[in-house]
């Protein structure tokens, strides 16, 4: 187990190194530097522009800029957000918890939803309902998350008026219940997206297991059906499902960006979309790097969970 952990962490570190390099390359290969929209204007004297560039190090040779970029990152310095006039790390520290609340709740609900529906579908594969609901899930997983978010907002917030349509708090109110009420629609959107995809993999895994030797042996030895399902089948099906969950994390992060945009949820995703419009590179780069690190580490966790759930796979990682 320790060996698996060390190998996976080393791989994760290599991946993060490539991500950082790619981000740096993309920004520096772009025409102009982050200042060109603001400074290369007829009204700005060239000396001022040059002084600003010098202050932020944009006049240095490329390899020097790269080393500076990496060493700043290592110290947690993500640069300065031009549009918010604050250090990027401060902006992200303020918004990341909101994004994690949304994506964490969505992932949790989606996993419960997907695993239970998929398990039922796989276990009762011959039932007409199981097959019909599988088709329904395929349709559901074909709805882009921003469209799903809009549809849920239209129905439950605007038409039925059961839930608030945007933001995280009502003005003047600052209670947990209020936040939860605002969380329902965005988190459900994410949960449906995660659950629909997960259920289809859970179903496939369960169908394969249902007729496996060890399941039939367990049944034959008189173990109650319920126990066979929960102790034997579900645990063995969890390895492939956890793998899928790990692979899906990037899509979840992207989905969160769109959902935050639709529901005006004050998280990192909404801030990134705004930053792109204002060409505030450091904030976009910071968000991409932080999200990628989070996704990479979460994938390592998912791999470890797979190894825990299925000891036979431990040596193959």
């Amino acid at each position: 187990m320790t060996r698996v952990l060390v190998v996976r962490l080393a791989q994760a570190l290599a991946v993060i190194g490539i991500v950082v390099t790619l981000c740096f390359a993309l920004i520096r290969l772009a025409p102009g530097d982050p200042f060109f929209a603001a400074l290369d204007q007829p009204g700005v004297p060239p000396e001022t522009a040059a002084a600003m560039r010098e202050a932020f190090g944009y006049d240095r040779p490329l390899h020097e800029q790269y080393l500076r970029f990496v060493s700043n990152l290592a110290r947690g310095d993500l640069g300065f957000s031009h549009s918010r006039s604050r250090p990027v790390s401060e902006v992200i520290a303020a918004l990341l918890p909101n994004s994690l609340l949304l994506s964490g709740t969505g992932l949790l609900l989606g996993t419960v939803f997907g695993v239970s529906i998929g398990a039922w579908q796989g276990w009762r594969a011959e039932s007409r309902w199981a097959r019909a609901s599988d088709r329904a899930l395929l349709a559901l997983s074909s709805i882009p998350e921003f469209v799903l978010a809009l549809l849920l907002a239209m129905l439950f917030a605007l038409e039925l008026r059961w839930l608030p349509v945007s933001g995280m708090h009502d003005e003047g109110i600052n209670g947990i219940v209020d936040v939860l009420r605002h969380l329902v629609l965005p988190a459900s959107t994410l949960a449906i997206m995660v659950g629909a995809i997960l259920a289809r993999h859970q179903r496939a895994a369960m169908r394969e297991l249902r007729d496996a030797e060890f399941i039939r042996a367990a049944r034959a030895s008189g173990i109650p059906e319920r126990r066979v399902l929960f102790r034997h089948a579900l645990r063995n099906a969890s390895a492939p499902v956890l793998t899928v969950l790990g692979v899906m994390l990037g899509a979840v992060a992207g989905g969160t960006v769109l959902i935050e945009r639709v529901f005006d949820w004050p998280g990192m995703g909404r801030a990134v979309v705004e930053a792109v419009g204002q060409r505030d590179y450091p904030l976009v780069v910071g968000a991409v790097i932080v999200t990628s690190i989070a996704v990479t580490l979460a994938t390592v966790l998912a791999d470890l969970a797979v190894a825990w759930a299925n000891p036979r796979l431990r040596n193959r990682l």
Binding site: V15, I16, V147, G277, S292
Partner: protein
């Protein structure tokens, strides 16, 4: 082949509607027809799918939007498949260090959420013309194709007929053209449908964020953007593009499922 007929037929219908858009569209998709009289009108005999805030005809925009959305997604798939095949095949043939390096890069690309990577590119480059948008979508979507191609190429290189061809000293070009690429085709078919089902909603999302197809040109995503702030009052601006996006994506997903089922049956 019969199982593929329905999804292929529907996709062909979508493609036909896009190609024939100039003939089918009742109005000019970007003309402000009557800004004072007929903005934001509900579906009627004159405008089957209503009009948008600038009094543009939604049906015409949807048809021309199909050109942008389907065209960009298709081009993105072509780019993704070419890149993925190149990376996967080189990794499989070279093996060793090159293989490890290429696969680590593939992992790294997969670790960056694709939408965020696209946002980063748009932040760096500014608004992109449709062809560039397709290229960028393809350049961020080749990874699963690369993995599939690598795996399949390794399998093919170990088969008797390829080994025999190598032993007979068949020139490398002939080996690839005659023996390996044809063997890769079913895999590429699966990869193409999967890539299409991913690229289409991504383009729609980018256009919905105002960072994809630039107005006044229509794409399925930016028609929906016009409904912002008046979702219920202008429900037709959400409903019809949604049906188009979900219809095309669902068909592609269905096709992917059936193609991979056929491939498994054949194996």
């Amino acid at each position: 082949m019969r199982a593929l007929r329905l999804p292929l037929g529907i996709l062909a219908g979508f493609a036909l509607a896009a190609l024939l858009a100039p003939l089918l569209a009742p109005y000019d998709p970007i003309a402000h027809l009557d800004p004072l009289g007929s903005a934001l009108q509900a579906p009627s005999a004159a405008h089957w799918m209503g009009t948008d805030p600038y009094s543009r005809d939604v049906l015409s925009r949807l048809l021309f939007g199909a050109r942008a959305s389907l065209g960009i997604a298709t081009l993105a798939v072509a780019v993704a498949l070419s890149l993925g095949t190149l990376v996967g095949a080189v990794a499989a043939v070279r093996g060793g260090f090159i293989d490890a390096l290429l696969m680590r890069c593939t992992d790294a690309m997969l670790a960056i959420p694709r939408l965020l990577l696209l946002l980063l590119v748009v932040a760096a480059s500014g608004p992109l013309p449709p062809a560039a948008l397709a290229a960028v979508l393809g350049a961020t979507g080749w990874m699963s194709a690369a993995r599939l191609v690598r795996q399949e190429t390794r399998r093919l290189l170990a088969t008797e007929h390829v080994k025999a061809a190598i032993a007979l000293g068949v020139p490398r070009r002939t080996l690839w053209r005659g023996h390996i690429l044809p063997g890769l085709l079913p895999t590429l078919g699966v990869a193409a449908t999967v890539a299409f089902a991913a690229a289409l909603p991504l383009e729609a999302a980018l256009s919905f964020l105002g960072l994809g197809v630039a107005p006044p040109h229509a794409s399925w995503g930016n028609i929906i953007l016009e409904a912002e702030g008046r979702l219920l009052r202008a429900w037709w601006l959400v409903l019809f593009p949604t049906l188009a996006i979900v219809g095309a994506t669902l068909t592609a997903n269905l096709l992917a499922e059936r193609v991979s089922m056929r491939r498994e049956d054949a194996a």
